[in-house]
Amino acid sequence: MNDLLLIIKKELSELLRDKKTIINSIVLPTLLVPILIFGAIKVTELINKNEKQKSVKIGLVNAPQNFVDIVRNDTLNKITNYDAAIDFKTLIDEGTIQTAVVFPLDWEQQMDSLTTSTVQIYRNGTKDNVNKRVSSMLETYNTRLKEQRIAQLQIPVEKMTPFQENYIEVGEQKELIGKRIGGFIPYLFILTMWGGCLLAAIDLVTGEKERKTIETTLSLPISKFKVLLGKAIVASILGFIPAVLNLVGLIAGLKLFDGIPDTLKLAINEMLNFQSVTMIMLLLIPFALFLAGFIIALVAGATTFKEAQSKATPIIMLIIIPLVLAMMPGIELTWATVPVPVLNIGLGVKEIMAGTIDMLQYVAILLSLIAFAVTAIYFSYKKFSDENAILK
């Protein structure tokens, strides 16, 4: 035990004196989520402001006066009147106008005879802001005409409204939001955990080869297993810390920044309570060991940092795919998904945050992750003991 602690202390001291490790494992993970939250709020605000201030160039054909008034009410709209429908596609492509609304020539008669008319809207589907604003104006106009017709026909409003929908939410806000965004949170911290473990594992194994200290380490009167276990524990700590800092950053970001809806803030605060965070952390401990052991086994034969990175990097797909699956709405935590690493964490965290986790399944996930961690450590030990690989 003492030998193991000596190795852990030595490796940690070495790694924490490396600027690269400090930036990647401590500074970036802490700042990442607050920056993302702050950035998202600011960017959304900026986009909304810009969109509102943008003028829309609208071409109108045979437009009735009351519709022209609606368009004119928004002072940013620039109207060009055309006598007849022309090649609007070219005009929109050239940027002369951004959209065109074409009313039929006999619009007034059709309205008077209370028939259904057709308005043609020329638009580019990719210009969301323009299309949203034009649709909104048309909807306002349509509603106004409907009301006029109802009044003209003297129909009571309730006769035109067979029923009203009244939704009563029986799920808790926490459950609702937990299921929706709970999948995103493990995506965030598992990726930073992977990054932390990867960097540390490569430094501790391949880095030792590059710095020519592997033979020194192997000449110590400490068993190879303890040396390997020490390295795996340190690599997992350097993966675990960024994940924890990610969560700390998320909580701090929610508390510090304005602009997040109060219901969302409250729900996330409720989700990230002491019990949920402890349960998530407990899952992350064996998972970090699993990742560390897995990466060490992968890079044990590599002789350079670059070679180690190229061996380990493609494996990130095995992390991303289950995480993306965990975010999909149809995929739930079942006994079939409980033993699948990464996917089980993704789904488990979602359930923990929603407050709907089945404790039996939680224990099963924990046990399966411990089993995977032990297997990964065993394989990394096998690779670390391979003289051809380690003394290459």
């Binding site: 030998d3 000596l6 030595k10 001291s13 070495e14 790694l15 004196r17 490396d18 710095r211 020519k212 200290t213 033979e215 020194t216 192997l218 000449s219 110590l220 009167p221 400490i222 068993s223 003289e387 051809n388 003394l391």
Partner: protein, 251 residues
């Protein structure tokens, strides 16, 4: 004392292209036997790739032999490497130091690993730092030190547990003459302290300066094993280097 008995190390080598792969077994060290006595310096000579490093790594417990064994200071290496490693000071051109630690931390780490009592560790560390002139840079990180400084720290870490057996694998390789001289001094002092010393080199002037007993290894097998005096008496070439080349070529 070190006693090697039919020590053999085989490696599997994959050859061939595409799906046609053949695995051949190569004996890097083949039935090597020799004895190194305390108070004498044993030189293991051989060209590059002859099996010197592999032999020394097996003695030091870094790799395991395929067959045969070695008794190091009364401990059979097949009974467990850790007991052997505690009795050995191993210094080679490729036993680097941990760059992000300073000499103080490095020696403390090694002392603790060798389970030296705290007071003994401090006493021995101060003695070695004084003797090797490390005090001036004891708080400087290894990564920021010159090759000579690093070599001094390497010597200190090799000797911190006062091992009975010292193994030096091409210890002066790539070093300037002043730094190399400090290693030569160390080897000589170890002999005077009745330690068992084994060193490999292909610098014949060093061999001439230090050697008591000699073994030449070529293609994994021992082709000469006797005292250095006897080797010199048997010499037919005009100098040591030429004699060594002739014997390797004849093997």
């Amino acid at each position: 004392m070190i006693e090697l008995k039919n020590l053999t190390k085989s490696f599997s080598v994959k050859t061939g292209k595409g799906f046609k792969k053949e695995i051949t077994t190569v004996n890097a060290v083949d039935n090597v036997s020799f004895t190194c006595k305390p108070g004498r310096i044993f030189s293991l000579l051989g060209p590059n790739g002859a099996g010197k490093t592999t032999t020394l790594r097996m003695i030091a417990g870094i790799i395991n032999p395929t067959s045969g064994t070695a008794i190091v200071d009364g401990v059979d290496i097949s009974n467990g490497n850790d007991a052997v490693k505690k009795r050995i000071g191993f210094l080679t051109g490729s036993t680097g130091l941990y760059e992000r630690l300073n000499p103080d931390e490095t020696i403390d780490f090694f002392g603790k690993v060798y389970k030296l009592p705290s007071s003994e560790l401090q006493e021995r560390k101060e003695y070695l730092f004084e003797k090797l002139g490390i005090n001036a840079f004891r708080k400087k990180r290894v990564g920021q030190m010159s090759t000579g400084m690093k070599q001094k720290v390497s010597i200190a870490r090799t000797l911190i547990h006062d091992p009975e057996v010292l193994i030096f694998d091409e210890p002066t390789s790539g070093l300037d003459v002043i730094t190399a001289d400090s290693i030569i001094d160390l080897i000589r002092e170890s002999k005077e302290s009745n330690k068992t010393v084994i060193f490999s080199s292909h610098i014949m002037s060093e061999v001439d300066l230090l050697c008591d007993d000699l073994a030449i290894i070529s293609k994994g097998a021992i082709i000469y094993n006797d005292s250095f005096d006897h080797f010199k008496k048997e010499m037919t070439a005009k100098n040591l280097t030429q004699e060594f080349i002739n014997r390797v070529n004849q093997s």
